[in-house]
């Protein structure tokens, strides 16, 4: 973690805590997509993911005025909140089949390629949801959220070696589930 990055983040958080509109807008632009992306891939449900992302941002507004400079990365704290909220929902969720909306034929040029891309994305997302939550979490944090291995290990409260084991197993399981898509 670069000291300059932490300092710039602390500055932004302090300005958010003071209610500066430009800082609030910057925080939303930067963090809302990140929190939504994490929740979307952890939960696989767009509505639940929006709820989690919104709740994380609300808690960020509450935390910003009392955030201690240099304490930790605010982004890491937000990830912790998001993961906790996701796991709360995963624990409450009952296994039930979710009906997917039927694909509507698109007559526009390039529709076939678009359909293939959407089908590929749908299958990858479905395969992600089939992974054990901890493997999915490791993949989400390291591959999608671009967190470093040390930061991910701290968030997951495991060693770096454990994170690497989860990543390897998750990636292998995805490769098996999506073998026909591997180019």
């Amino acid at each position: 973690m670069r000291t300059g990055d932490l300092s710039a983040e602390d500055d932004l958080v302090a300005r958010v805590g003071r209610g500066e509109p430009a800082a609030v807008q910057a925080m939303v632009a930067r963090q809302l997509p990140r929190m939504l992306a994490l929740a979307s891939r952890m939960l696989g449900d767009p509505a639940e993911a929006e709820d989690v992302a919104q709740e994380v941002m609300v808690r960020a507004w509450e935390q910003a005025p009392r955030w201690e400079r240099g304490r930790a990365r605010f982004d890491t704290w937000m990830h912790r909140v998001a993961l906790n909220l996701c796991y709360d929902r995963l624990r409450r969720r009952r296994e039930r089949p979710v009906a997917e909306p039927p694909d509507r034929p698109d007559p526009s040029p390039g529709a076939e390629a678009g359909l293939q891309a959407r089908d590929r994305a749908r299958r990858v997302n479905a395969a992600l949801q089939q992974l054990p939550p901890r493997q999915r979490e490791a993949l989400v944090l390291c591959h999608y959220q671009d967190l470093g291995n040390i930061e991910a290990a701290a968030l997951m409260e495991v060693t770096v070696e454990a994170v690497e084991s989860l990543l390897s197993r998750g990636r292998r399981a995805l490769r098996v589930a999506l073998a026909d898509l591997v180019e």
Binding site: P21, M57, L167, R175
Partner: protein, 138 residues
């Protein structure tokens, strides 16, 4: 770095060395130069990376963004001001004016002021914008 370590890291972090832990990249690149057959592992893992990357990133909807902004500190203050102004623009304004007229009758003719100036004097205690400006400017 040993080939076994290289394989372990590739299976965890994928086929792009830029995604590997910073401390491992130089050693991995050095090993690749002497053991080009390890490129095969990177190619295999790159295919898995491509699968992962097929999952598109969700984009926040306008509604979500609006809800988040509405709950933000500055937006809460602005919303409170707007709520106050909405009250003043309706029956509240009429009531304030009526109260002002009543005060004017009781205390006698006011000093010479234009209509807007008199209205500003009457409405000053109800103007939350003054408090908003003070808080934001600091």
């Amino acid at each position: 770095m040993s080939p076994e370590r290289f394989e372990h890291l590739a299976q965890a972090y994928g086929g792009d060395l830029r995604r590997w832990p910073v401390a491992t990249r130089a050693a991995a690149a050095d090993l690749l130069r002497t053991r080009p057959e390890l490129e095969r592992r990177l190619t295999m893992e790159a295919a898995t990376d491509a699968l992962l990357d097929a999952s598109p990133r969700s984009v926040p909807s306008a509604g979500l963004r609006a809800r988040v902004l509405a709950a933000a500190p500055a937006e809460r203050v602005r919303a409170a001001w707007q709520a106050g102004w909405t009250w003043l623009s309706g029956a509240g304004l009429a009531g304030a004016c009526a109260a002002g007229l009543a005060v004017g009758v009781l205390v006698g003719p006011p000093p010479v002021q234009d209509d807007l100036g008199a209205l500003a004097v009457l409405l000053a205690p109800y103007d939350p914008l003054a408090a908003v400006d003070a808080e934001i400017v600091g």
